[in-house]
Symmetry: C2
C-alpha cells in the first residue's frame, strides 16, 4: 500500500488472507474489510473455526487424509470395501471423489506426483506405505485416480510397475485400474481437446 | 457435501471460509485444505492475525474508517488538510483513494448509499454527522467521491441539497465537488461505454 491507512493488525490480516488460494491482494483487502464489518457474525466464528482446526486436525497415518481423528473417519468406516484402494495425488482429489460418492472404497493419498524436474522422487511420495498396505493381503484392486497430466501418468506407470514387481516377487496379485477417459457429463464436444475426443470415441459403449 | 469426509471442525472451517467475498464453496474447500496443509506457516499466523483484529479493530467515531485506534490514524494525522472532506460510500473506497494517494485530506464514510427500494434513507447513513462536521467551521470543500451509480449520484444530490440548505440557513459556505469523469488511465476507448466517452469528450483539456 502506498500509505499506511490502518493499524498493523489490519495490514497483517490482509497480508495473510492474500496467501489463500483464490485471493489476490485486492480480494484479500475486500475479504479483510468484510470480516471487520461482520465482526460478530463472521470474524469471530471463523477465527474460532480456524483455532479449532489448528488444535484438532492432523494427517491420517494410514491413508494420508486430513481429519480430526486418527485413523480418519474413512479408515474407521467398516462399511467400506477394504479390497479396493483408490490412490489419489492429493486430499483435495479424495474429497472430490467422496463428494461424487464415486466408490465406497478405501483411499491412499500419495501427497504429490513424481516430478524429476522438481526433485520429487518415489521416496517423497507415500508409495512405500501403499505397497505395504497392498502386501497386507486385503487389497484386491488398486484404482489409480491420478490426474490426467504427464506427471500423473508417469506416477501411475511407476506404481503399476511396482505392483507388478510385488506380484512377481511375493505373489501378491492385485488388479490395477485407472479412471475412464471420455466426455465430461454436460460437456460440449466442440470445446473438448482432441485427445479426450479420440479416447472417448475409442472407448465408445453400446446404448 | 454428499458424504461426511472429515470431522466437523473442517466442515465448519469450509462453511465460514465460503462466506468471504470471492470464495465460493469450491474455493472455500481449496482454501481450507491449503490452510490445513500450511498449518504452521499460514493457519496459525492467520488465526492470530484475525484474533488480533477481532480484539483491536473498531469504527472511528469521527470519520467511520476502521482502525485499531480511536480516533483513527487518518483523523489523528495533523499533516492532512482539514479544510477538505472527502465523502465516500464505504471504507473500501477510502482505502482505494488512500492507496492512490489521491488527496491529503480528511474523510467521511457514509456507510452506504440512499436506496429507497432497500429501505435505506438518510437516517441510515452518516449524513447528520457529516453536516455536523461541516457546521464546525473548518471544512471549506466537500468532495463527493461516491460511485458513479444511480444510487451514488442520488446520494450526492441529496448531500449537495443539504449543504446548500446549511449555507442558506446558517451561513456555512462550502464548495461541493465531485470526482472527474473520463477515460480510465490505461483504458481503451473501444471498450468504454458511451456515457463515459461523451463525458470525457465534453471535459476535454488542452495539452
Amino acid at each position: 500500500m502506498a500509505r499506511h491507512v490502518a493499524g498493523p493488525e489490519i495490514e497483517r490480516l490482509i497480508q495473510f488472507l492474500g496467501k489463500l488460494p483464490g485471493l489476490g491482494p485486492r480480494s484479500a483487502r475486500r475479504a479483510a474489510l468484510h470480516l471487520i464489518k461482520k465482526k460478530e457474525t463472521l470474524l469471530g466464528p471463523l477465527t474460532r473455526a480456524m483455532a479449532g482446526a489448528y488444535d484438532t486436525v492432523g494427517v491420517c497415518t494410514v491413508c494420508g487424509n486430513v481429519d480430526t481423528i486418527e485413523p480418519c473417519t474413512l479408515c474407521r468406516d467398516t462399511s467400506r470395501d477394504g479390497s479396493v484402494l483408490v490412490v489419489v495425488e492429493d486430499v483435495g482429489d479424495l474429497w472430490a471423489l467422496e463428494r461424487a460418492a464415486a466408490l465406497d472404497a478405501r483411499y491412499h493419498v500419495l501427497g504429490g506426483v513424481l516430478s524429476p524436474l522438481d526433485g520429487i522422487g518415489p521416496s517423497d511420495l507415500a508409495i512405500a506405505s501403499l505397497l505395504e498396505r497392498c502386501r497386507a493381503g486385503t487389497v484386491r484392486e488398486v484404482v489409480l485416480a491420478v490426474n490426467a497430466t504427464v506427471e500423473g501418468q508417469t506416477t501411475a506407470h511407476y506404481i503399476t510397475d511396482q505392483l507388478a514387481h510385488l506380484a512377481e516377487a511375493e505373489g501378491v496379485a492385485i488388479t490395477v485400474t485407472r479412471l475412464a477417459h471420455g466426455v465430461p457429463v454436460g460437456g460440449e464436444l466442440d470445446y473438448l481437446d482432441d485427445g479426450t475426443l479420440a479416447q472417448a470415441m475409442r472407448a465408445r459403449t453400446r446404448i
